[in-house]
């Protein structure tokens, strides 16, 4: 199982140029690529990792440059999963991208990467991508050649120009950062077409409009660290709102200041992940957060803002005392950081009020830093513009429509009737890579490269250019849109001279030539600026009647799913399988109700319910969530696709079907919280596809916390430390847990003092190290990026697709049928415990509850309960402290899992790794992503977290080849690497030069279930809570 491939040389960072054989136009790229793979033999080791099968390995006869079999190359590029423009280092092996990692030098993400960024490679290898260009013939899309496709496009463009219809054309592009939008607009202009719409259904336009008005930039830097108090006005800055990774990095850094950390308050109707990470929740009724902001402004400045705190409290349905004390806190805690979010019709107005609050509190320039801001949202068009375009289409005024990446047929509210309007356009062109709802309506499909196959650039922060380069040859017969545009332009003598050979050359010429490009590619970063796109045309917003005026008993609170976003993540099984950080639901759309409301309506969890609004209705199972106002129904976006591939289709429901067109007058943002709804119990009942067992800790002390005050007084014990284990009494240098001397150390003779290789003094040095991990719960936000990173690194199968259950007479069918049986395979999971004394399914509404989020993975116990019970030594203890699982030896008694108190062992119930089975988790070409250093587990064996043993061995081998010692913190595990909170630290606990040893010595450190004497190698650091300062002062 370990990766014993000799690592030669450090991980290389560079460009894959020269590695890819040139290819002729119109050939089937996939086969060509497979041929290359075939000779390396890597592909065969991937698909055939069963102990029984024997495969031949044939080395390269002539090796491509930069390619050493078994050694990864890393290419710096830019993430295109959201507009933030995080830097990536993409690990490639034998010409295939296998993992996306954050670029440590990048100013936006500093080496971290969120779950969506990680899942980019599943977009690259998505089995449902367009294989090549398609043309609609006789009503259906049929494959065509690039020549013919480009010719068709040129003809249509010429027709449009000649008929004068060109000016009415519409180009909707997925909003992205960089020069491409400007390039696109130039090209459109040269073709006589109007500028494109840079559409992002998730963009927080209200906040952006206010920022532009107040600071002149779309997105200032939010400096959490400088703040003493953070107040979120429904801004879900940890849920994908805005720029996830930099916000989370800053938030975690701030929380890591422990007793000096800011107190965090969340105002909003639903306690999102941001809300759960806040110290207090003010559950303002939907649509009233603006009143709260106004009242606070009034209270702080003494100005008349039309509403007093008492009135605002009354409107918002919260206690006046809570607002009073917040106002008092705002007055005293300076600087503070107030963040306006929300997706109501008055989001921009509210954001302006909050900006004013920030100004009067002196936060501008201190915690809100406009001049260090991010450029992600520069040039984003309003959602109103897309709605207006649809109206034009419906009126028959659009002769030619283009769409690239964006999927407005799924992401616009039902009354827009986008699909209907779009179909009225005589000729529709899609540049999208996936057969989504919009592009399946198109007449011509010119599939774009995936971001990891493309050239490009981004300017995420002013003055820094992040480059985007292909990390591998294209998987399919796709072509970069920019190259298609250039080819079209080249076909016309009038425009041909303006363009270089391809987009790469265009990028190179912009930044100073090929040499400059080649010099910058290894880091992926350079000084410079992207070409500025034209400012989007302002479009008149269309108000939607108002929230208060709409009919219905309950407020409908739609929100963007943290993992799936507006729905673009739904075709990636990792993101479908990733339990929502708050609801812990996967593969399913649920209607969130407060238990109190559900009780009133006679609805039990899992019962189906129907929501009706003036726009439509939706039926889905009910999930009971205590972090929701009882007068509110919440629903996440992202699912309910009717197209978009096998993983997205038929999974869940789309909340956009319920929403009216209701746009913020100032920003043109489509409001997600814009209507009331009625709800009634429907026929039927579903099992919830959830990973949640019990939602509270039952006093078991798994996720522990201290208050800031306790910490300040040096008090680090909590109520759970009544049962003390012996771990602390048996010290070894660097770790409070000893090296295992129980399991195999005595080598069969209990009287012998000879520990063999398990003796740290043994000449082999095998036991010299003790791998350990610390997880700082003060930093962890529960975002679950680590979970997806683990899936990516360790070839963990996703098991939730509807076909992954039993074939014959299944007793449970449909999506997530394996997960309803608790068979998810996540080696690392995020537990979300509510600190309440009753089951969270049966409580009255009380906004004052605490949530503890804790990543749980194999604890690599020094005295592991799983080891002695395995009858065949399939699990044993390595001398360097790892609890090792030998897949080949495992016969599948599952006793180890029974005996594991942490329940972190996962069994292969089906042949998820076997290509000839319906349960296969990696249908071609998803299996190209599989990490060749990690075995794909066969049916019937147990698996679990290995502490990324392949990374440990790779680093050790590299050090050995270079005839040196391992450097402290030289490498880390996939979860620690991805963590955007920097909560996870991995290293050698026996060597105090590693930073993990300092964390282990922290006063907050504890072992989970220490009383069981398992001597875990994973040490948690207690969370730090910040109760109200008033109470703290009293105590």
């Amino acid at each position: 199982m370990s990766a014993d491939q000799a690592g030669i040389g450090p991980p290389r960072v560079g460009t894959p140029e020269g590695q890819s054989p040139g290819r002729a136009e119109g050939t089937v790229q996939r086969r060509e690529f497979l041929k290359v793979l075939g000779v390396t033999g890597a592909a065969t080791t991937l698909v055939g990792c069963y102990s029984e099968s024997i495969e031949k390995l044939i080395p390269y006869v002539v090796s491509p440059d930069n390619t050493v079999p078994g050694v990864s190359n890393y290419y710096a590029t830019t993430c295109r999963e959201c507009p933030a423009g995080c830097g990536l280092l993409v690990e490639t092996r034998d010409g295939r991208a296998i993992k996306a990692e954050g670029n440590p030098d990048h100013p936006v993400n500093r080496g971290a990467l969120c779950a969506r960024g990680q899942a980019g490679v599943q977009g690259l290898y998505n089995p449902d991508r367009y294989r090549g260009p398609m043309l609609r013939e006789g009503g259906t899309l049929v494959p065509t050649t690039w020549d013919r496709a480009i010719q068709t496009l040129s003809t249509k463009l010429a027709e449009a120009r000649n008929s004068g219809a060109a000016a009415g054309a519409v180009f909707i592009n997925q909003h992205e950062q960089g020069s491409f939008p400007a390039f696109l607009d130039q090209w459109l202009a040269s073709q006589g077409l109007p500028p494109h719409l840079s559409y992002d259904a998730e963009a927080p336009l209200g906040a952006i409009a206010a920022n532009r008005a107040q600071y002149g930039v779309a997105w200032p830097k939010l400096d959490f660290q400088a703040a003493k108090l953070v107040v979120s006005f429904a801004a879900d800055y940890l849920d994908g709102w805005g720029l996830t990774v930099p916000q989370q990095l800053a938030f975690a850094e701030a929380r890591a200041r422990l007793e000096g950390a800011p107190r965090v308050v969340y105002i909003g109707a639903r306690r999102s992940l941001t809300g759960l990470n806040s110290d207090a929740w003010i559950p303002a009724r939907p649509g009233t957060v603006k009143s709260v902001a106004d009242a606070l402004l009034g209270a702080i400045t003494g100005r008349a803002t039309g509403v007093t705190l008492a009135q605002a409290a009354d409107q918002a349905g919260v206690s006046a005392a809570a607002l009073e004390s917040l106002a008092a806190e705002l007055r005293s805690a300076r600087p503070s950081l107030l963040i306006a979010g929300g997706a109501s019709e008055r989001a921009a107005d509210m954001a302006l009020t909050v900006a004013e609050l920030n100004r009067v509190l002196g936060n501008v320039g201190v915690t809100v830093k406009p001049f260090e801001g991010f450029l992600a949202y520069e040039g984003v068009a309003s959602q109103a513009a897309v709605r207006a375009a649809a109206e034009q289409m419906a009126a028959g005024r659009v002769a030619l429509a283009f769409v690239r990446g964006a999927n407005p047929a799924h992401t616009t509210p039902a009354p827009v009737k986008f699909a209907e309007a779009f179909q009225k356009v005589p000729f529709k062109v899609s540049f999208s890579s996936y057969p989504d709802e919009t592009s399946s309506l198109c007449d011509l499909v010119l599939p774009d490269h995936h971001g990891l196959e493309s050239w490009g650039d981004a300017e995420p922060v002013r003055g820094t250019l992040g480059l985007q380069q292909p990390v591998m040859d294209p998987v399919f017969n796709t072509r970069a849109t920019a190259d298609v545009l250039i080819a079209v332009a080249k076909a016309n003598a009038a425009t041909a001279f303006r363009y270089p050979a391809d987009y790469r050359a265009w990028i190179a010429s912009r930044i100073g030539g090929n040499a400059a490009l080649a010099a910058a590619l290894p880091t992926g970063l350079m000084r410079g600026a992207a070409l500025a796109a034209w400012a989007p045309r302002p479009v008149a917003a269309k108000s939607g009647g108002g929230l208060a005026a709409s009919a219905g008993e309950y407020f409908l609170y739609a929100y963007h799913s943290p993992a799936l976003g507006d729905g673009r993540g739904a075709n990636k099984p990792w993101l479908q399988e990733l339990p929502d950080p708050v609801t812990k639901i996967a593969w399913q759309t649920v209607i969130e109700l407060h238990p109190e409301t559900a009780k009133k309506l006679g609805i039990a969890e899992g019962d189906h319910a129907t929501i009706e609004t003036g726009q439509g209705s939706l039926t889905a199972p009910v999930y009971l969530y205590i972090g929701l106002r009882p007068d509110t129904i919440a629903l996440a976006t992202g699912r309910g696709h009717t197209a978009y591939g096998r993983y997205a289709e038929g999974c869940g429901a789309n909340v956009m079907a319920l929403l009216p067109v209701a746009e913020d007058a100032r920003s043109g943002a489509q409001a997600l919280v814009s209507t009331k709804a009625t709800i009634r119990k429907a026929v039927g009942r579903s099992l919830l596809v959830t990973t949640e067992g019990s939602g509270r800790q039952h006093g078991r002390g798994i996720a522990r916390a201290l208050t800031a005050e306790q910490l300040a007084q040096g008090e680090t014990h909590d109520e759970h430390e009544t049962f003390r284990g012996q771990a602390k009494t048996e010290f070894l240098p660097g770790l409070r847990s000893p090296v295992a001397n129980d399991a195999q150390g005595d080598l069969g003779d209990p009287t012998s003092k000879d520990k063999g290789q398990y003796d740290p003094a043994h000449w082999s040095g095998a036991a010299k190290r003790r791998w350990a991990m610390t997880i700082d719960l003060a930093r962890c936000t529960g975002c679950s990026a680590c979970v997806t990173a683990c899936y990516a690194e360790n070839n963990i199968p996703t098991v939730g697709a509807s076909w992954q259950g039993p074939q014959f007479l299944p007793d449970r069918t449909g999506l997530g049928s394996n997960i309803t049986r608790g068979r998810e395979m996540a080696w690392m999971r995020l537990e979300r415990y509510f600190e309440i004394d009753r089951e969270p399914k049966d409580v009255e509404f009380d906004p004052d509850f605490e949530t503890r989020l804790i990543p749980m993975l194999c604890q690599h116990c020094g005295n592991a309960p799983c080891e002695p019970v395995c009858p065949v030594y399939a699990t044993y203890h390595s001398p360097d402290g790892l609890n090792v699982q030998v897949y080949n030896r495992c016969v599948g008694t599952r006793y180890c899992s029974n005996n594991c108190p942490y329940k972190v062992r996962y069994f292969n119930w089906f042949g998820y790794g076997e290509p000839n089975r319906q349960q296969y988790a990696f249908p071609e070409p998803l299996h190209w992503q599989l990490n060749p250093d990690v075995t794909v587990r066969a049916k019937g064996v147990m698996e679990k977290c290995t502490f990324c043993v392949q990374r440990i061995r790779e680093a050790q081998n590299r050090a050995k080849l270079e005839n040196r010692e391992l450097q402290p913190d030289e490498f880390t595990t996939a979860c620690a690497q991805a963590c955007p909170s920097r909560a996870i630290v991995f290293g050698d606990a026996a060597d105090e030069k590693w930073s993990v040893t300092r964390r282990i010595e922290d006063a907050r450190a504890y072992h989970v279930f220490e009383e069981l004497n398992t001597y875990t190698a994973v040490v948690y650091l207690k969370k730090v809570n910040h109760p109200p300062r008033a109470a703290a002062a009293k105590a």
């Binding site: 990973t691 949640e692 067992g693 019990s694 939602g695 509270r696 800790q697 039952h698 006093g699 078991r700 798994i702 259950g805 039993p806 074939q807 014959f808 007479l809 007793d811 394996n818 049986r821 608790g822 068979r823 999971r829 537990e831 415990y833 749980m856 309960p865 002695p868 019970v869 395995c870 009858p871 065949v872 030594y873 030896r889 495992c890 016969v891 599948g892 008694t893 599952r894 006793y895 899992s897 029974n898 005996n899 108190p901 942490y902 329940k903 996962y906 069994f907 292969n908 119930w909 089906f910 042949g911 349960q919 066969a938 049916k939 019937g940 064996v941 147990m942 279930f1009 069981l1012």
Partner: protein
Amino acid sequence: MATLAPPSPHDAPHRPNIAAAGQPLPAIRDYEQVDREILATLRPTKGWFALLLVAVACLGLGIAAWMYQIQQGLGVAGYNPPVMWGVYIITFVFWIGIGHAGTLISAILFLFRAGFRTTIYRCAEAMTVFAVMTAGLFPILHLGRPWKFFWLVPYPNWRFIWPQFKSPLVWDVFAISTYLTISATFLFIGLIPDIATLRDRERNPVKKRILSALSFGWRNSEREWRHFARAYLFLAAFSTPLVLSVHSVVSFDFAMSLVPGWHTTIFAPYFVAGAIFSGMGMVFTIIIPIRKFFRLEHYVTLNVMDAGAKLTLFTSLVVGCAYLVEFFIAWYGAVPVEQDYFWNRLFGQWWWAAWIMLTCNMILPLSLFSQRLRRNPAWLWILSLFINLGMWFERFVIIVPGLSHEYEPWQWSGYIPTWVDYSILLGSFGWFFMWFLLFIKNLPVVAITEVKEIVPPKVRAGHRHGGGH
């Protein structure tokens, strides 16, 4: 043993079923009758064929389900992690437990000279062998990769890879294989004189040859009888500790682990008592129909039933006591995880299973305090079915609620078996009863030799020697 007044000679023909002092089998007049009546049971009947067909059909279903499970993976069974052990391990413990009463009756009661065992011991011992054969399948059946089961056996190999001797599962391998070997040998040794009886009456030359070989050329000599008695005694003595040790080892599968509700020192005696209790249940389930349909009421007398029922009642009380001690220790031990588990077992998620168990194993057997019911075969048979059910649920209650409600609340779960689990469970009954049905029509279900030994001397005197004697 018998507490009734000796029957008057006038009553005797009407109450062949009730023993008198010094006359355990009042309706048996001579050896010839013993031979005739017992050998008559070996004639196959239509009902027997029908039952055999049902058993084989159940077995076929089980085999089909297992093949499907091997092909697809264990996911087709109802496992719901962390409930990683389910119906298969429950059924394994169930069958292993069944076997214990057989050994108790055949070996321990033999050593204690408990006369009531004589007529039922053969049946019980056969039940033991077949139950262990059935039980032995399950640890293999529940493996993720059953084709690798031999890795649990310490066999020499050039890589010097041995099993983990600390693992109770390896102890299981030894315990079960030892138990199967010893009990099969014991059954066989006891059969030798009876096989010789069959051989003497067999006309089919092929069968006769086979029976000759199986009887080791038994000649009915003094020396042979002496050796037979020695071997029988020796094996009885050898089997006796196994009654205690095998199920103790099985209980270690649970007791050696950390799982709340499993990790307890009471498990070994508790399991042994439970095993004997469940085995008595199965003995009644089997012996009562045999007694009726083979017309052996005057062999398996009501006194035998009564004595067996008393043993059942006693073990039921022991088991009930163990249940109460478990609850007490959970409370007294003050480990919150343990207390939580017991609460959940009894009043939470699994209350129905726990109350099935308590009702069948603790409450219903209390009826056996009534002598009338002890001597009522119909009631005993119905009760025995409840005991079987209750003891299956006892293992369910130990295994499933423990695993589903462990240390990590986030991983608490439920468990619902699928058709594959049920088919394999049914298949195990098919397998057991197939062997048993084949046994009862091929070999005497009542030990001819031993019955003849307890026929009173005066009856014996009027008898001319023949057959095996």
